[in-house]
């Protein structure tokens, strides 16, 4: 690898380089679903640094002591855009106490809003949520004589995801259902950090099986693995 290409082509970095990009009041998007696929080492780093006043965007608030829930339940977020917080009663309490603002989207709508942010769409139109609380405050647009809700794209200053393998260019493959929202979240960050189990040289991943093309990834760090106990254990 020649001089000058290091930065863009080999994206392997450290926990501290990752933390350099995440600050108090950052907008942070996270991959995962019910804690599965939340990046444990990056979350631990954020907790250790005590980063606060975060705006979080992701599927859910996980559990109080699992995944992104650890950040939420310690009061380090002031706003959460998610599809549910049912598994994290601390998040519910913070919301009730007015300490956490929560914006709810239907899960599939949220996934598409994140994808829209990632692929540069300016909005999507859905009929999901019509006639429910979800339509409150949203612009309505008629398409072929039918009312639709305008849902806006979501992006974040920093996206964090967890993957099984990365090559040095940042191509990612995931682990079974831990894929979930991560490929969407990876596309929607102005700066995307992937925490991965295993890092391999470029050329070692089957290009047919790459899920997230490396162009969407800015930094790769080695994962230390899950440091919590799952709810079912």
């Amino acid at each position: 690898m020649q001089k000058g290409t290091q930065k863009s082509v080999n994206k392997l970095g450290t926990r501290d380089e990752a933390l350099f990009h995440i600050h108090d009041s950052s907008t942070l998007m996270f991959g995962g679903f019910g804690g599965i696929g939340n990046p444990p080492t990056l979350i631990e780093a954020i907790l250790e640094k005590g980063i606060k006043d975060l705006t979080l965007i992701g599927n859910d608030a996980a559990f109080p002591d699992i995944g992104i829930g650890r950040i939420v339940s310690r009061g380090l977020a002031t706003k959460l855009i998610a599809s549910h917080i049912g598994s994290n009663p601390v998040a519910g309490q913070l919301m009730t106490d007015g300490k956490l603002e929560v914006e709810f989207s239907p899960q599939g709508t949220l996934a598409e809003r994140i994808r829209a942010g990632g692929v540069g769409l300016k909005g999507i139109l859905v009929d999901v949520g019509l006639g429910s609380m979800v339509e409150e405050g949203k612009q309505k647009v008629m398409v072929d004589g039918k009312t639709c809700l305008l849902e806006t794209p979501l992006r974040a200053e920093v996206s964090i995801v967890y993957a099984k393998k990365a090559d040095t260019f940042g191509n990612l493959v995931y682990d079974t259902s831990a894929r979930n929202t991560s490929p969407l979240v990876a596309m929607a960050g102005d700066y995307t950090i992937a925490e991965v189990e295993e890092i391999v040289p470029a050329g070692e991943l089957d290009p047919e099986c790459v899920v997230t093309p490396g162009i969407f990834v800015d930094l790769i760090i080695q994962s230390k693995g899950v440091n919590w106990t799952w709810a079912w254990e």
Binding site: I36, N88, T176, P183
Partner: protein, 218 residues
């Protein structure tokens, strides 16, 4: 509600599933339904996180913590399974490719409106995938207790709680009855012993039509 009652409801719901169907099960009682499908029946269970073709729960110690259903419980996969992202998972749901979804419910109205995601000020809310599932699956089955903890009917003329989706429910299966939502109103098809059709009607806040033959399930 006891395990036996919950399993009786799940067993009844399982009868709605035909070979080759694509099925999504909600959390709670609906998640028990897969235990009541004949082992040799090929059904593809889908999960919102991004799996099609979930199989039975793995043996203790054999779990892959990354391979879970939408409720976060470890699962296995069957031949023909695939993994995809959550946008594709909801693409499958939103485009009408699910044959059946089985959901929990807080209230169901005479028109088949469903409320199941929020009790304002009381429960921590979670829309999750309920709106897409209720609005878009070809058949929506609701499994719920017939009355709430105050003994009040959960089948009502109009939902009081915020709606999940309008006019979406096809079949209501409770601990007391099986009720179909039809254009002519609610049709009582089956009662669960020891309840009688009279008991059921007394505890339902909407007039019920009686099916020609109301079967009693034991």
């Amino acid at each position: 509600m006891g395990v036996d009652l919950r399993n009786r409801m799940a067993r009844r719901a399982a009868k709605e599933i035909e070979p080759g169907m694509i099925v999504n099960l909600g959390i709670g009682i609906p998640s028990l339904v897969s235990n009541h499908i004949p082992a040799d029946m090929q059904v593809m269970f889908q999960a919102e996180n991004g799996v099609l073709g979930m199989g039975e729960s793995p043996e203790e110690g054999e779990e892959n913590p990354m391979l879970c259903n939408a409720a976060g419980f470890p699962v296995s996969i069957v031949p023909g399974a695939s993994y995809f992202d959550s946008a594709t998972a909801f693409g499958i749901i939103r485009s009408g490719n699910l044959d059946i979804t089985i959901l929990g419910g807080l209230e169901v109205s005479e028109q088949g409106d469903l409320a199941n995601w929020i009790v304002p000020g009381k429960r921590v809310p979670g829309i999750g995938g309920a709106m897409e599932l209720a609005q878009k699956a070809k058949k929506v089955i609701v499994l719920m207790s017939h009355v709430n903890k105050h003994g009040e009917p959960k089948i009502v003329p109009e939902c009081h709680l915020p709606l999940t989706a309008k006019a979406c429910v096809d079949i209501i299966i409770t601990d007391r009855a099986v009720i179909e939502v039809t254009e002519e109103g609610l049709l009582l098809k089956e009662v669960m012993a020891p309840y009688t059709a009279d008991d059921v009607m007394k505890n339902t806040d909407v007039p019920l039509q009686l099916s020609e033959q109301v079967t009693t399930l034991s």
